[in-house]
């Protein structure tokens, strides 16, 4: 009985703190977007280090990851890349451009009805392997595709 009373009091206390924080503008409810950005992974200068930082050091090759990208990209500033995974239970896709100064380009997490699919334009400094890593059921699967770049895109 006493234990339950404690829980209720603790709950009330926490709510009070939350209300005060809201009133003081410490929490901004209108800022809906979560600001977690894996700095270590995005600052990594090699694909291997970036994969370690996203917890995907061990990967196995998979033919069920589809990478649609041009074989030859005339303009490295805008290279269209479309990736998807047919592996059941895929919850995230990471895109790495191995020869870029910072290889990790994007890391997407999918929940609810979102399909493991994303299309995005990326910059490529030079010809490079594009690597995609899918996370499914705690295991990591990977596939690669080579894209040749005729004019580098580091100039943005």
């Amino acid at each position: 009985m006493d234990e339950a009373r404690r829980v209720v009091l603790r709950g009330a206390g926490a709510t009070g703190v939350l209300a005060v924080a809201l009133a003081a503008g410490l929490l901004k409810p209108e800022r809906a977007i979560a600001a977690s950005w894996n700095k270590a992974a995005f600052d990594a200068k090699s694909a291997v280090d970036a994969l370690k930082s996203i917890g995907a050091a061990d990967t196995q090759e998979s033919g069920d990851i589809v990478i649609e990208a041009p074989q030859i990209a005339e303009n490295g500033a805008v290279v269209p890349i479309e990736v998807s995974s047919k592996i059941p239970g895929t919850t995230s896709l990471a895109v790495l451009i191995e020869k870029n100064p910072f290889p990790l380009a994007a890391h997407f997490k999918f929940t609810g009805g979102a399909m493991p699919f994303v299309k995005v334009n990326v910059k490529m400094g030079e010809s490079s392997i594009v690597r995609v890593v899918a996370d499914a059921g705690g295991k990591h699967y990977t596939a690669t595709k080579e894209v040749k770049v005729t004019i580098g895109g580091c100039g943005g």
Binding site: W37, A106, F117, G156
Partner: protein
């Protein structure tokens, strides 16, 4: 620097095809300005897609995404009239969002 943002969502069989266009310089920090000084990094880091108020896609991206990014996503189980909200946040704390209905 948050310019206009456009989104469109259309049913394609069993899923909604969501396309979003963001106006952003996506500055890499590797370019130099006319004065020879590097132009500071300025790029979108986070984006989020919600279907009827529920987060379905969370993305973290780097400066390697092209200027004025365009993304396509696919959301299964959506239906015409569903609300799709997309928002982004950049490394300077700027943010923008837009919403559309699945057609």
């Amino acid at each position: 620097m948050s310019g206009p943002m456009k989104a469109r969502a259309r049913m394609q069989g069993s899923y909604a095809d969501v396309r979003v266009l963001m106006s952003h310089p996506m500055e890499t920090g590797q370019r130099k300005g006319r004065d020879g000084k590097p132009i500071p990094k300025h790029f979108i880091q986070n984006l989020e897609v919600k279907l009827n108020g529920k987060t379905v896609i969370e993305g973290e991206v780097s400066q390697a995404v092209s200027r004025n990014p365009v993304f396509s996503f696919r959301i299964g189980g959506a239906k015409a009239g569903d609300k799709v909200e997309i928002s982004w946040l950049d490394n300077k704390g700027d943010t923008n969002k837009t919403e559309t209905a699945v057609a």
